[in-house]
């Protein structure tokens, strides 16, 4: 019995540690990668594998099977959310980012005639 318990505990420690590893990796990627597209990779790793490994690791620790089922549902939901979210972020990147206000929090009519500035202000000056 104690051997089984120890094995289960070891399983938990192992997988949770691995999950945390993915979280740390994901965060590091979020902080260190150069642009949004690459950071997206980091995010999905933490989402899918981080939570997944933690859930798998916790399975032996739950009191009732129902709780374990809930954990698996949570993982499934996170997977779904992660898949859709990364799709959406990628679409935003390809279709054009939201038009944001400039540094002062206002939309300034851009001086040049470029219709859409990367930095986010609108090139819709009234003067021709």
């Amino acid at each position: 019995m104690s051997v089984v318990a120890a094995l289960l505990d070891g399983w938990t420690v192992l997988l949770v540690c691995a999950g945390i590893g993915f979280f740390v990796a994901g965060t590091t990627g979020m902080l260190r990668f150069p642009d949004a597209a690459t950071r997206l990779h980091a995010l999905t790793k933490a989402d899918n594998l981080g939570v997944g490994l933690v859930v798998l690791g916790l399975l032996p620790q739950v009191a009732r099977p129902a709780e374990g089922f809930k954990l698996l549902v949570i993982w499934a939901l996170v997977l779904l959310a992660s898949a859709v979210s990364s799709q959406l972020v990628a679409r935003v990147a390809t279709d054009g980012p939201p038009i944001e206000e400039d540094r002062n929090g206002r939309t300034a009519p851009a001086a040049s005639g470029t219709p859409l500035d990367r930095s986010g202000s609108v090139g819709a000056g009234a003067q021709p």
Partner: protein, 337 residues
């Protein structure tokens, strides 16, 4: 070791909360501030869990971080659209926009006031008696009389039922107020959550998630009697699912005048009021549940309240009825000059 760890976690969450709150207030871009607000909601959820209040955490997550975040981003989108339009129309406009923003002196005064209140609160909280006087034991003791096991539900629907009832009426009145913002021409039209223009992933999500969400809402409602959960989080999740379906363009709302819609809005509070009034005749007083039928009455009220909360929250997110959505999916900001 564990207490020290818990203390560290509390300190970390508290520090992040304060820092994030300050940052979201001070940061200039509106979008950043909204993301800050959403993240603040997430962290607040953790804080509520740490304080042992899962009911509050659930509601905070569903309302504060979920629906409110969606609402704020929708509002920000509309504001940006009208700003973009104004940027084209004239150079005179930005000046007026600047004039309307609060003056620096009033901002400073506000900040000083907030800091003073916060400092006074900190001092007062330190001076509060320890352990704090609490009604929780009394609530737990009387809970069996209601036939339910969750003390939070007991307070909400039993001991302080009047407050809950009035809060639900507040929701309805708030919705009427929002509808009152409609233009005369579009009053009676259907409010709408405009479908997003590019919808495949969102549509997939809107097909996959709501069944789970409905099951979860029923589960929370069911568990609400004995465990954290109950009408409000369940209603909020249902509302969120409905918002998702509408945003994916998979459904639309009925017009505001629709009898069924109005019935759904009012059913919860009306039945609550009715059962409460019934108590004057068949039980010990207003808002007392008939003896032997406590659980039945509470279940009936909770189910109907969940429906009403879901519909009202959904309609609050959808906003006042407006002109039909334009072709590219967003509301027409204003008619072209």
């Amino acid at each position: 070791m564990i207490p020290a760890l818990e203390r560290a976690v509390e300190l970390a969450i508290g520090a992040m909360l304060v820092g994030l709150a300050l940052w979201s207030v001070l940061v200039r871009p509106r979008f950043a501030s909204i993301v800050g607000f959403v993240v603040f909601g997430l962290l607040l959820m953790l804080a509520w869990m740490r304080l042992g209040a899962p009911d509050v955490a659930m509601t905070e997550g569903a309302i504060g971080s979920g629906l409110a975040g969606f609402l704020l981003l929708s509002a920000a989108a509309r504001l940006r659209c009208s700003e973009i339009r104004r940027a084209r129309i004239g150079a005179g406009e930005p000046q007026r926009a600047r004039d309307r923003s609060p003056r620096r002196s009033s901002i400073v005064a506000l900040g000083v006031g907030c800091a003073a209140v916060a400092a006074a609160l900190a001092a007062a909280v330190a001076a509060l008696p320890h352990p704090a006087p609490s009604l929780a034991p009394a609530a737990l003791e009387r809970l069996p009389e209601l036939g339910i096991g969750n003390p939070v539900s007991g307070v909400l629907i039993g001991f302080r039922a009047l407050d809950t009832l009035v809060e639900k009426i507040v929701l309805v009145v708030a919705l009427v107020g929002v509808w009152g913002l409609a233009a005369e021409a579009s009053w009676r039209r259907a409010p709408s959550v405009d479908p997003s223009p590019e919808i495949e992933p969102i549509r997939f999500l809107a097909r996959a998630l709501p069944p789970v969400g409905i099951v979860l809402a029923i589960y929370l409602l069911w568990r609400g009697a004995t465990e954290p959960g109950g009408a409000f989080p369940a209603g909020a999740i249902l509302a969120a699912m409905a918002v998702l379906v509408l945003a994916a363009g998979l459904g639309r709302l009925p017009p505001t005048a629709a009898r069924s819609l109005r019935l759904a809005i009012c059913a919860g509070p009306l039945v609550f009021l009715g059962v409460g009034g019934l108590g004057m005749g068949v039980a010990r007083g207003f808002l007392d549940y008939p003896a032997g039928f406590e659980v039945l009455s509470i279940k009936l009220i909770e189910v109907l309240l969940t429906g009403s909360v879901a519909v009202v929250l959904l309609l609050l997110v959808a906003g006042p009825p407006e002109e039909a959505a334009s072709a590219n999916g967003m509301r027409r900001p204003e008619p072209p000059l």
